[in-house]
Symmetry: none
Subunit: 193 residues, 4 copies
Amino acid sequence: MTPRPARTALTKQKLFDAALRLLGERGAAEVTVDEIAAAAGVAKGTVYYNFGSKDALIDALLRHGVDLLAQRLRPDGDDNAVEHLVGASLEFFRDYPAFGQLLVSEMWRSPGQWHGTLSLLRDDIVAIFKEVVQRSADAGKLPEGVQAGTASAALFGTLLVVALDWQVFQPDRSLDQVRDSVMLLVRGVIPAA
Amino acid sequence: MTPRPARTALTKQKLFDAALRLLGERGAAEVTVDEIAAAAGVAKGTVYYNFGSKDALIDALLRHGVDLLAQRLRPDGDDNAVEHLVGASLEFFRDYPAFGQLLVSEMWRSPGQWHGTLSLLRDDIVAIFKEVVQRSADAGKLPEGVQAGTASAALFGTLLVVALDWQVFQPDRSLDQVRDSVMLLVRGVIPAA
Amino acid sequence: MTPRPARTALTKQKLFDAALRLLGERGAAEVTVDEIAAAAGVAKGTVYYNFGSKDALIDALLRHGVDLLAQRLRPDGDDNAVEHLVGASLEFFRDYPAFGQLLVSEMWRSPGQWHGTLSLLRDDIVAIFKEVVQRSADAGKLPEGVQAGTASAALFGTLLVVALDWQVFQPDRSLDQVRDSVMLLVRGVIPAA
Amino acid sequence: MTPRPARTALTKQKLFDAALRLLGERGAAEVTVDEIAAAAGVAKGTVYYNFGSKDALIDALLRHGVDLLAQRLRPDGDDNAVEHLVGASLEFFRDYPAFGQLLVSEMWRSPGQWHGTLSLLRDDIVAIFKEVVQRSADAGKLPEGVQAGTASAALFGTLLVVALDWQVFQPDRSLDQVRDSVMLLVRGVIPAA
DNA sequence: TATGAATGAGCATTCATTCAT
DNA sequence: GATGAATGAATGCTCATTCAT
């Protein structure tokens, strides 16, 4: 299926995996290209051959991570849409705590290297949230005056910081516990079907 | 008021001001001591004379910033306690957007240099929030099952994220608009007196 | 004419052409094999397949270029031999200005990679000049004390430098103008027949 | 006399000396900053503290070297001006063979790093030559049609290549021998007083 | 013959830190 | 108290070369 560039694709994947872990754990500036290459099991030059620069690798990584998150958010068979968003988000950040840290470190750095990329990516994610929240709004379930856009952005942001708080300060709590806590709060704003 | 070291205090203040702006905009690792010193109008050696190291300067800066925030949160005579927390927090992050960026970049960096300091500082802030939320809980205003601690941490995190979103993506909205939006959401969880 | 390896010869020629331009413009050390290959429209590996190394490519290029120059200098039936040398040299460096730059950059680099090759090549050229100058000497036309060898080397060097000066600092002058200027000087040393 | 920056001036001088020798011997691209720093007896960072970049160091070096040459060319008590130019030039390139190689390598590289600087410097030197040659022209000593500017540029170029030829291919000849050989040729164009 | 992904030694540059003044 | 020249370990990046296809 994958023609010739199978080797390249594999190399890039190895680099993504290694970079995702290291960059989240320690921040973009603290991780060296040497480390990423070593963790991926390739030579340093390979990073540059495939991505051109450290910044470009991180940029590609951010896009890749957000794609993964978007995939997990999309599905969901039937109702309980909000609960699915909450659960899927927490699950994603549990699986890739590194990525959450990377996001939160770079998302609001206005003249930052990746601000442009992250603005776009953030919009992608918030749009998915908004789709669900809007449905509740259409059903008249949102409190008077609450706008779907504002609520969606706030919900995503809250999930992000709650997930990080969980991983960093209360790693012993289970996913279910955290999701239930969050849902109790969310249900105050968006009642269940 | 400031006792003897008037000269030192001034120098430190100049360094705080310069460091706060630069570190927030570009992240701790991206800013050099040279830049901070230049922006403060002092020689590089002066940073080391006054703080000992770059890390120590940032550590002191974080403590200083959180003290400022704590001061603003504390006051407020009587009711509308929750609204005061929300308004004061948003106001603080509007006044010191760089500090919000710095916090969010470093707060969840587990093996980070300032993780220890930030854990303590976070506890200080959340404790203030919890005091207020607990009062609502005691008055039976929290939904069944919602814990004051969890709600407080989530509220602080949400405010942080919302404030940054505001400053970076919607700088045209007024403080009142943002505060009202947030309160609409919060009132779903913590109804007004 | 070119025997069997028509394909190889073509590839080598493409590489020569590309290398000549790039190496002259920017110096041997500043040009990468990638660039040469790209400019020649072949893959990088092809350079190594055909020449073995970057140094060997440059070595071959130098030999090739000096052969071309020697060919142009040789002909000329009868008199006006000196004028022919001057004219042919200037013409050659006008046609291959990059080669002149390459020569001048590497010719006097004592521990240089191509010093050996260039010494031999220089001798070839100077020998052709000497042949002509010696004829003038035999005819008693050289000033008392001037040696043919010294005068030949100086003449070649001067032509090289004058040609480069012309191309770089006075590209508007015509070949005839430059040749006439040089001949005025040369005639002071080697009078016409 | 030299106030405080005596240390800096000394450091720069040490770097100039070391760089002049190394760069001439092996060409700008072949010499590493590490080597220059080591040869100067300072740390690598010191090069960057004082010059900002390797390119800037070389640029400064070119200006410095041309100043030295200009100084040597200027003086000369009375007549024999042309002979002084020839002798002083050869002497300079004998003392700094490295510099001659550097000059010749970079002077005609049109899109080169230092082409701008070298154009200016070349003009300085040629102007000094022209002053002397013009005097001969005014005295009616130049052959009919020879222009002072052209002759000056050619003379400087010739001296440059002759000096390099001497150092590289005939290091056994004495300065006097070479100067006399050159003067024999020059006298054909510019007769003695 | 030709290709291009992968390599890794080598290099220019940065920057936190020191210390003599 | 303050300074800034000097340091050198660390880092991002380059590029000639190799080799499996």
